[in-house]
Every structure is written in C-alpha cells, then in structure tokens.
C-alpha cells in the first residue's frame, strides 16, 4: 500500500488511528493492532511474500534468544549470529541479487552457464533485512535484551510507516519506544503536520519532477536515431532527477516520521537539507542519515572504522562500506559504480580535508552539487551504457546540440515546481525555518503563525485533488 493513495488515506489511516486510540488502555493491545495492520499494509501490495517475512521474524526471534542464552559461550552465540545473519542476507540475496549474479556469470562465460532467474522482488526487502540484522547484532552485542515475544520483534521490523522505504531504524534506538512510548497531543499534532508536508513533497513535487526526469532519461536511452538529446535538455533531466529523488525520498521519510509521531513513536530524522552541503562528506551526513548510520554502526565500526593502524585499512574499510551501499541500493552495475563514485570523492575529501576547510563556499557548493548530480545520473540510468550516453549528452560529446526548445518547454510547464522545489532545498528554506522557530515574536512569525494551519490545510486539499486525479506516481525507494 502506498501512503499517497486513496485506500491508505481514506480507509486505512482513519481506521488504524481510531482503533489505536480506542485501545489506549493497553500498550500491548495497541502493539498487536499495529502489527496486524502493518501486515495488512504490506500484504495489500505483496500478499505472496507475507508468510516468508513472518517466518523470518520468527527465526530472528528464536536465534536472538539462543544468542542471548549462550552469551557466556561465545562460540555458540557467534555461530548462532552467523547463521541468522547468513539467513537474513541469504533471503535478501535470493530475491534481489541472484538474477544479477546469474546474468553476470553467463555474460562472463559468454554462454548460458545457469538459466536466467526472474524472481519478483518483495517490496522493501532491503529495509526489512537491515532491521532484522540490527536486531540480532544488538542482541549479540548485549546492548539490548532478546525479545521473547515475536510480536514485538515483528512490530519493530514490520511497523508500517517505515516498512517499505525506511527510515532504517536501529533496534537499540527504538526498543524502549516499543513498550514505553508516550503518546501525546503535541506529538500527534506534529505528526499531522509532518505527514502533510511529506504528502505534498511526494505528490506535488516528486511526481512532477519524475515526469520531466523520466521523459528525458527515456529520450536519451532510446538513442540518437530516434531522438538526439541536446546539452540543455540533458541538464534539465539530471537536475529534475536530483530534485525528484530528494522530494520523493525525504517526502516518504517525512510521512513515515509523521505517522510514527501520530502513534507516539519518535523516529530519527533521515534528511537535513542535503543539497546545502559544501562537501560530499557533509552531503552524506545529511542524506539518508539512517542508512549511513546503519552502515557506520554495523559495518564500518566493526571493521575498525577510521581508527585503524594504517591508512590502507581505513581506505579498505571505506571501500567495503561504499561497495555495500551501492549494492544495497540495487542489483545493477550502475549502483555499484555509484557507490564507488561516492567512495572516490569521500576519500579525496578525507585526504585533502576539503570538508573541514573554510571559505570558497560557493565553489564548494557547486562542486558538491555537481558530484551529487553526476552520481544521480548513474543511479537513475538503466545501465552503464545509458549512463555513459547521458553523460556524453550532458557535455555535448554525442553530436548533440546545446539548445533545446523542449528543455525550455519543460522549464515553463514545470517552472513553479522547479522554483519552489529549489527554494525548499536551499539555504533560504533553512533560514525561513529558523526565523519561524525564533523565540522573539516578529510580525513575520506572527502572520506566519496565523496562516500556517490554513496553508497546510490548503496543501492537504491540493494533495487530495492530485490523489483523486490519480496523477503520475512512483516511489523510487520501493525498489530497494
């Protein structure tokens, strides 16, 4: 089920909220209710995989109990951890990577060594796996107690707001909230606002940028014989995708955080104005924060992180993390190269201390945006060949011209979204937000305070208009 759908907004959400607050007398009952509706939420899109994922939850619960029980016997608990991690990763690999591996083996041998495998990818399996791994590793480390009740493990992994596209919650950060969270009117109101902002980001902005980006990337992919993409058009396409992926993913995160607040959960922020960053290092502190934190906590630090005896090890650790980051995003060479692309610039910045330098902020901002933008071209392209073609188009190296009427048309047709979208991504929006939160009451903040509820209500109504129309929609991170 999608958040941005009629079934979710006008059936699922009101019923879930109503029953949830009717069960206010019992936290356990509320959790059972949330678990049941989370299964329905998932099954609505993928009924076939529900049993597999439920089976995985039971296995994770059992193994975590074993790990805890034999904590004094390191060997047994380690073996149990290895087995359950292998099972979790194996499940992910079976669904997500087996086809990719087989295709590449066949390509390497130039013949059909294995028959092509086509398995439907369960929605959100990458997020599901990360949650499961976080749980068992936290238990192994002893930072949390193994949960005897699979329902609580299930709710952590299956909780519908973050089930299919994150944020990636670490078990030790949420475990207390599963049982002892406090719902309040204040949290609820924040949740409503946050959810509406997210819905607006997704329905109005991400979907509009998606139309521009999808059209232009498709035009580039069909080849010059049918359409020659000029430089200007290629840049409009890449910028549109840069905006789309931000509004899509951060919009989804906003909705997830907002829904969490409605049920009393405080989910950590996942985005913090990433496009204002002055270095790639800073960008990754602001973009998909929960995923970066997960890799740092469960991969980078265990490998030794930066505090290793020599630079080679540090480079190796970073390389592993970014290879895994790329692979986690998808079973394709474009994602692997995208991971390496980020690794390259992060390494460069580490050696030059670029991210710590002061001054030249405009230049550093442009540098960061360009690196990120080129990265998104890799990320969006269906394969490396198409990515290469797209880069050639961007730099006029494909016998393509510079000017494009179509680019101007796209900018005109979607001008409102481009202007407002860029403002929302920039320092201006950060400045405005700061101004609103100032304790000192200015006329501006007073007026804003008065119009705020009606502005948000209008946004909600506009979102309903877009939903009712059934406009172009896709969630990028559903595929991961």
């Amino acid at each position: 089920m999608l958040f941005a759908s009629n079934i979710f907004l006008f059936y699922f959400l009101p019923i879930v909220l109503l029953v949830y607050y009717l069960l206010k007398f019992s936290r356990q009952m509320q959790n059972i209710w949330l678990f049941i509706v989370s299964i329905i939420f998932y099954a609505w899109g993928e009924p076939a995989f529900v049993l597999t994922l439920l089976g995985s939850i039971i296995l994770n619960t059992l193994f975590s109990i074993i790990i805890e029980k034999y904590r004094s016997n390191t060997k047994i608990s380690k073996i149990a951890l290895v087995i359950i991690c292998t099972l979790n990763i194996g499940l992910l690999a079976a669904f997500k990577y087996i086809g990719f591996i087989v295709t590449n083996i066949n390509a390497a041998f130039g013949s059909t060594v294995f028959n092509e495998v086509k398995i439907a990818l369960p929605i959100g399996i990458s997020f599901f796996t990360f949650h499961a791994l976080s749980y068992v590793i936290d238990v192994y480390r002893g930072t949390v107690v193994a949960e005897k009740n699979p329902l609580n493990v299930g709710l952590y992994i299956f909780f519908f707001p973050q089930l299919v596209a994150g944020p990636v919650l670490q078990y030790h950060g949420i475990v207390d909230q599963l049982k002892n969270r406090k719902s309040s009117w204040s949290k609820f109101t924040q949740g409503c606002c946050r959810f509406t902002f997210g819905l607006g980001k997704k329905l109005l902005f991400a979907n509009s940028f998606a139309i521009v980006a999808d059209r232009i990337f498709d035009l580039s992919a069909i080849g010059q014989a049918s359409y020659n993409v000029p430089v200007l058009l290629a840049w409009v396409g890449s910028i549109a995708y840069t905006l789309q992926i931000y509004f899509d993913f951060s919009g989804y995160s906003d909705m997830a955080i907002g829904l969490g607040l409605m049920f009393g959960f405080e989910i950590d922020e996942n985005f913090d104005h990433p496009y204002v960053s002055l270095s790639v290092t800073e960008f990754w502190r602001r973009w998909h924060i929960s995923m970066t934190n997960w890799f740092r906590e469960y991969v980078y630090f265990p490998l030794g992180g930066s505090r290793v005896s020599n630079t080679d090890k540090m480079v190796k650790n970073m390389l592993i993390v970014w290879l895994l980051t790329g692979i986690w995003h998808g079973a394709a060479w474009t994602f692997i190269v995208w991971g390496l692309w980020n690794f390259l610039f992060l390494l460069l910045e580490r050696f030059t201390n670029l991210h710590k330098r002061k001054g030249n902020s405009a230049l550093r901002h442009i540098y960061t945006l360009l690196v990120v933008n080129f990265g998104w071209v890799l990320f969006r392209s269906t394969n490396l060949y198409n990515a290469g073609k797209y880069f050639l188009n961007m730099f006029g190296l494909n016998n393509n011209g510079f000017y494009s009427d179509l680019a101007i048309t796209f900018l005109k047709e979607y001008g409102v979204f481009f202007v407002v979208g860029i403002i929302f991504c920039s320092e201006i929006s950060r400045g405005l937000a700061k101004l609103m939160e100032e304790k000192k009451q200015t006329i501006f903040s007073k007026v804003y305070g008065m119009v705020y509820p009606f502005m948000l209500a209008s946004l909600f109504i506009v979102c309903i208009l877009y939903l009712a129309r059934g406009s172009y929609s896709t969630f990028i991170y559903f595929n991961f």
């Binding site: 907004l9 009101p14 076939a48 609820f188 109101t189 606002c193 948000l456 208009l465």
Partner: protein, 408 residues
C-alpha cells in the same frame, strides 16, 4: 515554541476533521459498490485470487471516490492557474487554440505497417469473386495542417507520416483508398471547426463533408452515382441545430471542464422523409432495436439533454448510439440501393448515418470492441455486400484496428 504548537494544534484539528468526515462519507458511498464487487469476485483461495481481489478493490476505491469529478475539476483549475499546456504526464497537450492533442516527443514507426495494408488486400481478394468492391477510407487526425498549432515545443502526435505510408502501401497492394484530408481542407468549413477541442473526433459538419466526398469517390471510382441530382449531398436538405457548450469529449472528460472547456455540438438530420430499422449489439451484449425516421431510429438525442451526465455521455454519441461492436441499418425506403459493410471505428458514427438514406443496408463492425466482437472474416463469408469500406482513423492503423485477414 508555544505558538508553533498552537498552530500545529489548529492544523491537526482541521486534518482530523477533514480526514474523518471525508472518509466516513466516502466509505458510506463506496461500501455498496465495494460489497457488490467483492461478491462478484467469488472466494479467495490462492495468493493470485487475493492479489486480484485487492486490485479490484483498489480500482473501485479510486474510481468511485466521493466528489471525484469535483476533485478533478479542482485539479484542472490548478493546472490552468499554473499555465500548464501539458496534462498528466503528457497524456494530452493543449495547443495555442485550446485543442487537445495526444503528445509524442518522438515518432515511432510501426514495422508491420505494410502487413496491415496486405491484410486489407487479402480482404479485397476474399470478396472480389462475389463482386464486392473494397475501399479504405482514411479520415484525418487533428494533426492535419492548420488545425493544431503549438507555439511551444510540445510535440503533438503527428499521424500524417504514418497515414501517408499506409496509403502508399495500400496503393502498392492494389487497394482503393480515399484520403479525406484533402476534401476537408478544401471545404468551406473553417479549419477550427473540423475537430472538437476536447475530443479526438471530427465534428458533424466535417463528417458530412466526408460523406459527400465518399459519394463522389464512388461515382469516380466505380461509376455508381448514388446521388444523381446532388440532393443528398446538399446540406440545405438537412436540418441543423447547434447545442452550445454541450460536448465534453473523451480528452476533456479526462481533464475536467475547468481545464478543457466545452465544445459546441451541431446535430444534422434530414429534412426529407426517411424510414429505417436499426439493430445493434452494445459492448455488453445488449440488443437494441428501433424503427422509424432518421431521428427516431438513428439518433439518440438523450445525449444532448441537460439531464444526462456530461462526464459520462458525449453528444458525439448521438449518432447511431456511439460506436458499437455491431450494428445494422436497413433503409426500407430504398430497397434497391447498395448494401455496404463498414469495418470502422468511432469516426464513422455520423458517416454511417449520413450514408444510410442512399443505401438499402449499412452494416457496421467495430474491430476494436472489447467484448461482443464480430469475426470479420466469418461475417463476410455469411453475408454479401456491394461495398466494404474499412474506415479507421490514423491512430487506429495498427494491429488492433486491422486485426482481420492476418497472414496464415
């Protein structure tokens, strides 16, 4: 911080009020339809049937959403405010004169185009022995010269290259054809009145000019003069009535009136006496039978009534009930006239009606019908005709529109 919380509280109250009141009203409206759908789907005994049920429920919820039309109008209004000419991911492009067109950013050629021409040639060959003449009649699309103009680089779907190629392939395969672009552009009808703005169809006036062109072509090609003194081709012998802002075409129905506006619809019917029997099968298999004059048997003026839902019924469907899987018009006043079969799409609704007074019988088959399809090849074996006209708008020159006499 306090005021921040207050404003959030006010919004939360609005959010909850809107969400719950709308959801309750919506569920009350949709529940009987959903319940009916679920009953119709039967039991859920596998993952596949569960998936199918979910799909149907989702579709029902989206299609039957409370105030859907009003919301669509609101959406259309927002698009107007933003000055947008592209609608819903390039489903449509509005040109400088407010005409809707299908968008196309690049042209794709159909490699089977010659095969479609050969299918018509095979049809011709199969009926030649019976003395039946076959002609392909090619109506234009809005992309004909001077109808749609775009100052922006929003490429509209240009059917002309495909139409030219297909007509050339027909010529090479020895099939007669009539290209209606020329007579329409040379007619006295202003270019802006050849097509509806909110629909891909031509206007009644354009269809009448095309009817005259067909009669003329039959005379030149086959030496059969159906209208010896030009009586039937003279528009003065027909009544005309224009219904202002009465037509919302299929493209307009998708975008809403706020965005598309409405078209005028002109109804044309004979002043001279006529007498027909009309039989048809609609897309659900229901049979219709009517008898009487042109307006009694071939027109369904309910579509023009203000009481009919403009979002559901198009005035264009006033002629011969709109496009049907099959219909038959028998002219009891002209039993010696020719017998014609039209293999056609919705462009022929008015054409079929205008041709009827000159014929003894006009049968029509719609190859694109989603249900109740008639097998063209069998129909030709079982029936005899003087003429078979294949009349397809350029957008339907493909494997779906020409799905008969495929290569064995």
């Amino acid at each position: 911080m306090k005021s921040y919380l207050n404003r959030q509280s006010i919004y939360a109250v609005i959010f909850i009020a809107v969400l719950f009141s709308f959801s309750i009203k919506n569920i009350m409206q949709e529940y009987p339809i959903l319940s009916q759908t679920l009953q119709g789907l039967g039991s859920i005994d596998s993952a596949e049937s569960l998936k199918s049920t979910i799909k149907h429920v989702d579709k029902n919820i989206n299609d039957e959403l409370l105030w859907k039309k009003q919301f669509m109008e609101g959406y259309g209004y927002l698009q107007v405010l933003m000055g947008k000419n592209e609608f819903n991911n390039f489903a449509y492009v509005k040109d400088d004169n407010g005409f809707f067109n299908y968008a196309s950013l690049y042209s794709k050629s159909d490699p089977l185009i010659e095969e479609y021409a050969k299918r018509i040639a095979r049809l011709k060959e199969s009926v030649e022995k019976k003395g039946t003449k076959v002609m392909f009649i090619s109506p234009p699309s809005k992309s004909i010269a001077e109808v749609s103009k775009n100052s922006e680089e929003l490429e509209i779907q240009d059917h002309n290259p495909l139409q030219n190629e297909f007509l050339y392939d027909l010529y090479r395969n020895g099939v007669d054809y009539l290209d209606l672009r020329k007579p329409l552009l040379q007619s006295n009808i202003p270019k802006q009145d050849l097509f509806y703005k909110t629909d891909h169809h031509w206007t009644s006036q354009a269809a009448f000019v095309s009817f005259v062109a067909i009669v003329e072509k039959m005379k030149n090609l086959y030496g059969v003069d159906l209208d010896t003194n030009g009586f039937y081709s003279n528009l003065d012998n027909y009544s005309q009535r224009t219904y202002k802002n009465n037509l919302l075409g299929s493209q307009g129905r998708d975008t809403g009136i706020n965005y598309s506006g409405l078209d005028d619809f002109t109804l044309i019917w004979p002043k001279f006496p006529t007498n027909f029997t009309y039989d048809s099968t609609d897309n659900y298999g229901n049979k219709v039978h009517r008898e009487g004059s042109f307006d009694q048997s071939l027109l369904t003026p309910q579509a023009l009534s203000h009481e009919s839902d403009i979002y559901e019924v198009s005035s264009y469907d006033t002629f011969t009930d709109g496009v049907r899987a099959w219909n038959k018009i028998v002219n009891t006043n002209n039993p010696k006239g020719p017998k014609i079969l039209m293999i056609r799409d919705s462009f022929s609704n008015p054409l079929e009606a205008f041709l009827s007074p000159l014929c003894s019988e006009v049968d029509a088959i719609w190859p694109l019908a989603k249900s109740g399809n008639v097998d063209v090849e069998k129909y030709l074996q079982d029936n005899e005709f003087d003429y078979v006209f294949v009349i397809l708008y350029p957008g339907n020159i493909d494997g779906n529109g020409i799905n008969f006499f495929k290569k064995n």
